[in-house]
């Protein structure tokens, strides 16, 4: 992957982006158990596949979601959070 499409600024070189990790649902910290919280904090779906990830376009300060395959490095689509 050398180019990522920012939903605001269009296709931009990958150097302009920072990786923010997999987009995950946070459990309710008031009601979840310690084990569920540890699982959320530390554990990851490490096997290769298409994942929703946070990416950050640094020059414009835009956080976005990219659906990317972590073995082929191909991006299926990008969009702003909530637009899914």
């Amino acid at each position: 992957m050398k180019i990522l499409t920012c939903p605001i600024n269009g296709p931009r070189p990958i150097d302009e982006f920072a990786y923010g990790g997999e987009a995950r649902e946070m459990p309710d910290h008031q009601s979840c158990s310690d084990a569920e919280w540890a699982d959320y904090v530390f554990n990851r779906a490490g096997a290769p596949g298409t994942k929703k990830e946070w990416w950050y376009h640094v020059p414009s300060g835009t956080w976005l979601i990219a659906e990317r395959h972590t073995a082929t490095d191909q991006v299926a689509r990008t969009y702003l959070w909530g637009e899914a």
């Binding site: 920072a18 540890a38 904090v41 530390f42 554990n43 990851r44 490490g46 096997a47 990830e53 490095d73």
Partner: protein, 413 residues
């Protein structure tokens, strides 16, 4: 040229025995199956046979022997870690390394060079002092040295780093060494094979048979095996194996790249590491500079190389050694590093009975090859984690009791 080499030219058949037996077929069952024919897996097979008399063992390798991260690292061996648990573990490894060529009857080109971790900032200096004190407490030779000592050991270095990042001092670790990494896999493989261990290359694990929370077998591309003990020592492939076992771990895969230059006359005797410039460099016995940098910045299950990496790395190397500007990079490659949040490995038992993990070796696994083999063999044989690896258990994440090694295991933080 020694005359005995002539027989290789004159003989129609290869005049030396093969390094290890290559059986045609898997047996229907084994006492233990080791997934991964890299240094760690083969060392575990060797110590299972040697220390515990368990020889009915199969080692399954998806590609070829030592073709994963064992053959892709920058071969640095050291024990100057940050936590007492880490220092004790890696120091035990260095002690095995020192006599390993004799033990395996194979020249591993183990070469004691001394290891400088350069500090360019006051905060880096304070980490160096911290590491030196922990190391001394544990009986490991590490000390903080000044710029003059660095210049004495390596007169070619530009101590100002082109004015960008003047070197204030370093952590000097006398036991720091390099070794020939593929030789380690071949040496352990041959020794294990001689004691009865069976090694299968081009054999991919496609599934694990688990009944009532116990491992009972392994499915492979060559057929199924029954076994009660399975060790996964597969580095960058760990998440695929743990997914088959239904185990969740914090491991995420990032590529780690490295490269070598064309060979030069020997000029760099020591190993140099700079956390601020994100580089480590040593000169191999062939004269090439072996260079590495920090991880690629995002998750990727691939061993592709990038131009970004080699551009960034060489610009930092030139800050340290401007005279290298005419030297060519001749090869670059990547490995898949299985990263953990605390930069310590994950070793020992898992929630599945009889399934053991030797993983989370990220960017720091090669130096641990002998001791991880020895401790994992003991863990398999006794079904109880070896004392040296207790701090590396998978359960530590559930218990919020991490083993923070980031300050000593990584460059680029």
């Amino acid at each position: 040229m020694p005359y005995r080499l002539l027989r290789f030219a004159l003989s129609k058949k290869h005049p030396e025995p093969a390094f290890f037996r290559q059986p045609e077929k898997l047996r229907p069952s084994y006492d233990a199956v080791i997934i991964g024919g890299g240094g760690h897996g083969l060392a575990a097979a060797y110590y299972l046979a040697k220390d515990h008399g368990i020889t009915n063992v199969a080692v399954l390798e998806r590609g070829y022997l030592g073709g994963g991260n064992t053959g892709r690292n920058t071969t640095i061996i050291r024990s100057n870690y940050l936590t007492p648990e880490g220092v004790a573990f890696y120091d035990a490894s260095v002690k095995i390394w020192e006599n390993l060529s004799q033990e395996l009857d194979l020249n591993l080109f183990y070469s004691n060079r001394g290891h400088f971790t350069l500090a360019h900032t006051e905060s880096a200096m304070s980490t160096m002092r911290w590491r030196a004190e922990v190391n001394k407490q544990m009986g490991v030779k590490s000390e903080v040295v000044g710029p003059d000592d660095i210049k004495h050991a390596c007169p070619e270095i530009d101590l100002s780093c082109a004015g960008h990042a003047p070197i204030l001092g370093a952590l000097y670790h006398a036991p720091g060494s390099v070794a020939r990494h593929d030789g380690v896999a071949w040496g352990y493989g041959r020794a294990a094979s001689n004691m009865g261990v069976e090694i299968f290359q081009n054999t991919e694990v496609t599934g694990l048979d688990i009944q009532n929370g116990r491992i009972v077998g392994v499915q492979t591309s060559r057929g199924n095996i029954k076994t009660g003990k399975v060790l996964s020592a597969v580095a960058g492939f760990t998440p695929r194996i743990t997914q088959m076992a239904g185990i969740r771990t914090p491991i995420v895969i990032h590529p780690l790249q490295a490269c070598v230059t064309e060979p030069m006359k020997p000029w760099l005797d020591t190993i140099l590491v700079s956390g601020s410039l994100h580089v480590y460099v040593s000169q191999s016995s062939r004269g090439e500079l072996v260079m590495g940098a920090s991880l690629d910045p995002y998750e990727l299950h691939s061993t592709r190389s990038t131009l970004d990496f080699v551009e960034g790395l060489t610009s930092h190397i030139l800050d340290m050694f401007p005279f290298l500007s005419g030297i060519k990079v001749v090869r670059q490659w990547a490995g898949m590093a299985d990263m953990t949040p605390d930069f310590a490995p994950i070793m020992g038992k898992t929630p599945v009975e009889g399934f053991y993990l030797d993983a989370g070796w990220g960017t720091w696994g090669f130096k641990a090859t002998p001791i991880s083999g020895k401790t994992m063999a003991a863990t398999l044989a006794n079904d109880r984690p070896h004392d040296l690896i207790n701090a590396f258990r998978l359960e530590r994440f559930n218990e919020f009791e991490l083993t923070g090694e980031k300050g000593a295991a990584a460059v680029g933080h």
